[in-house]
């Protein structure tokens, strides 16, 4: 059942989907870059929900750090329910949605058009209402995603955002590094069997906290969402800094945490954080390529070496997807069709 499931197969399709994106989407990326320059874009507003909103978080850090763009996560209710949209100025208004069908996300793009700003979309459905409201459509190239929990469409969203950032910065080193992405993910997937064993340890875990910061703030959110959708545990994402402003009170001996801590600018920060919660007895899964950091936790989920920090979120989510899959499997849950949710959620 595990190996034949849609979720298992879609997780393992990710390198192929990324390769298709790299092979086919550069012309659309270049059209968008040209339009951004023509419109003299000064900042970015992103409308998205669920998994796509976690892709938006990655864009917030990547477009900020690499391209100097201030990125705002839109508040869709101001646009659709309150009918009081803010002034968008010289914004780029980007919609991200696998299905392209949630009315609140489409409404933000419609308002963008009304105000005359550039409105691209990232979607798996080039005929969707979102795509129809968009000036330029970046296609996820993911094929049909059958499992309700998004995996291959998430990493494809991140790949398109990274391609956009590299093209906008005209950064050849970034573009070259992106060509290695499918191989990094393939190497990560080779650990699948080990993660199945680790997952046994979390059979009865009822709540958990996932910590990431900077580029991997997105990874913390997306991993927490996968764990909630698939294992029905209560899992909350935090930046290490926000966690210290109050929620640290939750930590008692045995408190389960997952720390996303790849090499990079924030590694010392994450190492200090892990030490702080370990002093209070936390039980920590560490996702990292750093042997020293992996050794700080009870359970190490190893990433391949050589991935730059800005690219790491696209790889670091993969062991998390596998962990969520295997915990759900150990609990006997239906991980292709979790209770109570559907593939397409239409909210206002």
């Amino acid at each position: 059942m595990l190996l034949e499931s849609f979720l298992y197969r879609e997780i393992h399709e990710q390198p192929a989907v990324m390769q298709r994106v790299l092979d086919r989407e550069l012309p659309n990326i270049q059209r968008l870059v040209a339009a951004i320059r023509e419109h003299q874009i000064e900042h970015v507003v992103i409308a998205a929900r669920g998994t796509s909103d976690n892709a938006a978080r990655y864009a917030q850090y990547l477009l900020g750090a690499v391209n100097g763009l201030l990125v705002t996560l839109a508040t869709p209710s101001l646009f659709l329910l309150y009918q009081r949209p803010p002034r968008l100025g010289r914004a780029l208004v980007l919609g991200i949605s696998q299905s392209g069908r949630s009315p609140d996300i489409v409404a933000v793009l419609h308002e963008g058009r009304r105000q005359g700003v550039l409105t691209p979309a990232i979607t798996n459905m080039p005929d969707s209402p979102l795509a129809q409201a968009a000036d330029v459509v970046l296609n996820l190239q993911a094929g049909v995603e059958q499992a309700v929990a998004a995996t291959k469409t998430y990493t494809s969203q991140l790949t398109l955002i990274a391609l956009l950032s590299a093209a906008l910065a005209d950064d050849q080193a970034m573009s070259a590094m992106l060509l290695q992405l499918p191989a990094f993910v393939t190497a990560t997937l080779e650990q699948a069997a080990t993660i199945g064993q680790y997952a046994q340890r979390y059979r009865f875990m009822q709540h958990c906290v996932v910590i990431g910061r900077g580029y991997n703030y997105a990874t913390a959110f997306e991993l927490a969402l996968k764990l909630k959708e698939l294992t029905y545990s209560s899992v909350e994402p935090y930046s290490s800094a926000d966690f210290l402003h109050g929620p640290l009170a939750l930590v008692e001996p045995g408190f389960p945490m997952i720390a996303v801590a790849p090499s990079g600018v924030l590694l010392p920060e994450m190492q200090a954080f892990i030490a702080t919660v370990k002093e209070r007895g936390a039980d920590v899964v560490v996702i990292s390529d750093s042997a020293e950091t992996l050794a700080l936790g009870q359970v190490p989920l190893t990433l391949p070496a050589g991935i730059p920090e800005w690219l790491s979120p696209i790889v670091a989510i993969v062991p998390g997807q596998l962990l969520a899959l295997h915990i759900a499997h150990s609990r006997g849950y239906d991980f292709d069709q979790p209770r109570g949710i559907r593939k397409v959620t239409e909210t206002r």
Copy 2:
């Protein structure tokens, strides 16, 4: 012990603090409004952590709906740790911090000054590093807050944001309504004894979800934070729309939820949401002024009648503060000094 605690007293001081803000801070608000007009501000960036970040969420909706301003919640790590701040353009960069001492928040204001933008601050400490980095300081007028969990400084932050929004819109009806705020909060506090009885029901609750949307998205976040800090339960905030995109899978019979659902544009949305989770067996606390909506839940926390939706977050958090206090009391926890956290958290 309960009645003599700092937390109990500070919750009950809130009408007096708001009155001081209304009496004393209008000149500073007017200075800030004049500066905003002079600088031709086009959008707003807010730097804050913890409780203050929840005040920022209120500002995101209020300044958006009333003043048409796009509000971005800053990503402080881009400014301090990565040293890659985005271009701020014609932004207002607002720092919110009770203590005014967190280095990451101060760093965002310093970068704002470096880029030549207007940098006001909202703080309880007019001599703090944050206040020193600010062009205009709005004072919380809260006196010393002794309990680690913030209460009176949170509602004072919201009051100042509402005063700013009203003054910027030159909206006399809003300003007049704000004068009634202390009386609304006093009326809400009169329920304190009832909430103490309801809290018994949650003595052994280990996890919980708090739902709010629009203006009260902030209330959901702040109530979840109070419950985490004071009761050590795992409590997660959501907008009703985001909850439907995946986390709905968590709901099973008896799943505890708190819905913040005052009268206003979003009430039908929240009513439909409560009906959806009740079908799946959720056990719902409802915070509302609407009798029909209160009747949808197992436990009603009643708000006074006549509060407009935009003002409701400043009142709707109060029964939540009391609920968190009484649950902590029923568990025998130290609610003035929760384990593991301090009043001033300095993060980078």
